[in-house]
């Protein structure tokens, strides 16, 4: 299988030959940082235009169609507008926390990029506890939201933030438990290992019933965790105007907006990695010829294809379902999803011990 590791190895060797090791490492960090920021910007633009086009398609209308071919540059125009807008800080807010909150949301989204395997041998930080890292860091998002809600000195913002806090803390449990199901099968927290373990079939096919259940629960839980409809209670336009970011405008609002989309991308990437094989092409057991043909499709394409399929799924939810009420939302988690995923984990463990998965 063609791999990107030759390129990264070549750069690594060249840097180490040309400079001393300290400088080489600093340069490598800079390159990675630039890549992350670049990816961030591109993903933000792509996801926003994708959301608008998907929404338009579902809502029998055209969507943006003025800027560029078929409106493809609309999100760039929006970005320029947001950049040149005045960054207002209203009177009576806690200025420090108010300005810090969007940065936290943004930084968390950036940190989450680190352990994701974008293609074969293309990981920024091949961490041996990658999945644990993702679940741990993603829970910091709620601090940014609570901070924004509290610092805004606005009742709508506060209510949105409190809702969001309750929601994210609850849904992390079932997201975590459904991730655990796959970890039980794999026996590793390393994202590269998880992907490699799916070389003869993705976990959603290999893991029998528990894998399918945990996949469904995972998708529901991450939709809630990223505050997207039908679980968008933190923003709840018709109830709380704009929820926790009511008082934000200009680039500060854009950071929240961007962070939301990047979070959607990351949770979908994790979902694709755990259940759909990440960059691993579609392999069936030991059908050598078929597997070989599949290997010709670049691994990055597999990864982004799967991720964008899941993103499309989440966008589809958003434009189809009405919003839940806060008590129904918490009931769904604590009375249904959590018991089901606990039982499911038990079942998965039994399967893993007996070795009944493929």
């Amino acid at each position: 299988m063609w791999s990107l590791s030759s390129i990264s190895n070549a750069i690594h060797t060249w840097l180490n030959e040309t400079f001393n090791p300290t400088w080489a490492m600093i340069f490598e960090m800079v390159i990675v940082g630039v890549c992350v920021i670049g990816l961030f910007a591109v993903l933000g633009l792509v996801l926003v235009i994708m959301e608008r086009k998907v929404a338009a398609w579902i809502q029998i209308r055209l969507g943006p169609n003025r800027v560029g071919p078929k409106g493809m540059f609309q999100s760039m125009a929006d970005t320029v507008k947001l950049l040149v807008k005045e960054g207002m800080t209203p009177n009576g807010v806690d200025k420090f926390l108010f300005n810090l909150a969007p940065l936290i949301a943004m930084i968390v989204a950036m940190l989450l990029m680190a352990p994701i395997a974008f293609a074969k041998d293309f990981v920024m930080w091949d961490l041996n506890i990658g999945v644990l890292y993702v679940t741990a860091v993603s829970s910091i998002t709620v601090i940014g939201i609570l901070m924004a809600g509290w610092a805004s000195n606005n009742k709508y913002s506060l209510m949105g933030a409190m809702r969001s806090g309750a929601q994210i803390v609850s849904y992390e449990l079932s997201a975590g438990l459904s991730i655990l199901t796959i970890i039980v099968f794999t026996g590793s927290l390393n994202i590269s290992d998880i992907v490699l373990s799916q070389a003869n079939g993705w976990w959603i096919f290999k893991g029998h019933f528990p894998a399918i259940v945990s996949f469904v629960i995972f998708i529901i839980a991450v939709t809630a965790e990223t505050n997207r409809a039908p679980f968008d209670l933190a923003e709840a336009e018709s109830e709380l105007t704009a929820g926790f970011h009511t008082e934000y405008s200009g680039m500060k609002f854009a950071l929240f907006f961007l962070a939301e989309y990047i979070n959607v991308f990351i949770v979908c990437a994790i979902g694709a990695t755990l259940f759909l094989g990440g960059w691993m092409p579609f392999h069936i057991g030991n059908w050598e010829a078929f597997n070989h043909i599949m290997d010709y499709i670049p691994s990055g394409l597999w990864f982004f294809g799967k991720t964008f399929f899941l993103i499309f799924l989440i966008m589809w939810f958003r434009w189809t379902f009405p919003r839940l009420r806060i008590d129904q939302l918490l009931n769904l988690e604590w009375k249904y999803l959590l018991p089901i995923s606990m039982f499911n984990l038990l079942l998965a463990t039994a399967l893993a011990i007996l070795g009944w998965h493929f």
Partner: protein, 371 residues
């Protein structure tokens, strides 16, 4: 203003919903006392879009004042005009030609469907589902096109004059209405698939915002909101006007009294309107569309009252005449005002998110509340 029952205590959160808020669909101001997410009290404040329409009508002639009412409940403007024309005709004892009567009813029912379509879309949007709004507008647009062709306007039609209609229907009218009916019938199942049958939607609506029949009567709630509580109040059945007595249609009643009942009343009412249109569209009698009336209308001294069923409920027109060319006093009984007054009763003890849903099921049009 609502009386002080729910006392505010320490720790209650008072929030102002409106006058600029996405859920109020206009400039309504609600002062809501919350305990966490639970509503303790809702206090509507009115007056942000008061245009003193009743006072304005006193200086307009009996031909002119009809069209001011288009701007009250702009979603059933045709039905408002109809009510005013009926009152003037009652006072002057003008006999309206059969053709005009049938066309008036056809237009009434088309307006009702258009209004309920908009309500359905806006209602779903209140609950956080954006897509239904566009689906509803797809059908509503074709009604607006029919209106535009015949009346010359899409929203405030101003099609009715005392004694008949402003002009005859467009030659395409019957064909266009039949096209609309076939479009509507081919799409109506989408409504149920997208929203009515949705488990999230049903959980949001069922058992929420209960309004007992006694409360509905004592608050003067009318229209689909009252019929959702099982109160029979369809003026088209109880006090028929312009030939509704000859038509076959059902008064929709639901007994649950919750948001879902009110929702279902409107959904089923649209089908009854379709039924009425189907009965009439091929049977428009030949003849004049207007009777000859005097150039200047003067109502005899006295008091005149008429009521009709708009898309929102009972709309009444009360005219006091001193025998002159303009009314001495006009009072409109608008459905939205009474329906809004029941909101506090319905909302207490419910969650904030459901308040929006309840307001949706009351189908409030703010210029109708605030004249």
């Amino acid at each position: 203003m609502v009386e002080e029952i729910g006392n505010t205590t320490e720790g209650d959160l008072i929030i102002n919903v409106g006058p600029q808020h996405p859920a109020t669909h206009g400039v309504l101001h609600l002062i809501i006392t919350l305990n966490g997410e639970t509503i303790k009290k809702v206090e509507p404040h009115l007056g942000f879009i008061h245009r003193s329409i009743e006072k304005m009508c006193e200086s307009l002639s009996y031909r002119q004042f009809i069209y001011v009412t288009s701007r009250m409940d702009y979603l059933s403007s045709h039905i408002n005009n109809h009510a005013c024309a009926l009152t003037v005709e009652k006072g002057l004892q003008i006999e309206v030609p059969d053709r005009a009567k049938v066309i008036r009813i056809l237009m009434d029912e088309l307006t009702r469907i258009a209004s309920h379509e908009l309500w359905w879309g806006a209602m779903a949007m209140d609950l956080g589902a954006f897509t239904p709004f566009f689906h509803a507008f797809r059908e509503r647009e074709s009604i607006n096109d029919i209106m535009e062709e015949t009346c010359g306007a899409r929203l405030t039609m101003n099609y009715i004059v005392p004694g008949g209609l402003m002009q005859d229907i467009h030659p395409n009218f019957q064909k266009r209405v039949k096209d609309f009916l076939s479009l509507y019938k081919s799409k109506i199942h989408e409504y149920d698939e997208l929203i009515t049958g949705n488990i999230i939607f049903q959980n949001r609506m069922k058992g929420v915002g209960y309004l007992s029949p006694e409360d509905a009567i004592s608050f003067g709630v009318t229209g689909p909101a009252a019929r959702g509580s099982g109160v029979s109040c369809d003026i088209r059945k109880l006090y028929p006007y312009d030939g509704y007595e000859n038509l076959q249609f059902d008064e929709i009643l639901e007994t649950a009294g919750d948001s879902f009942a009110r929702y279902m009343v409107r959904i089923r009412e649209m089908q009854q309107s379709v039924r009425i249109i189907e009965q009439l569209i091929d049977n428009i009698p030949e003849g004049d569309f207007q009777t000859k009336t005097k150039a200047v209308l003067k109502l005899p001294k006295g008091e005149f009252y008429t009521r009709v069923e708009t898309a929102r409920g009972e709309f009444g027109v009360y005219i006091v005449s001193e025998g002159g060319t303009t009314p001495y006093r006009i009072k409109f009984r608008s459905p939205g005002f009474s329906n809004l007054s029941a909101l506090d009763k319905m909302a207490r003890g419910e969650k904030l998110g459901d308040l929006v849903a309840m307001m949706g099921t009351l189908d409030l049009v703010i210029p109708d509340i605030d004249r």
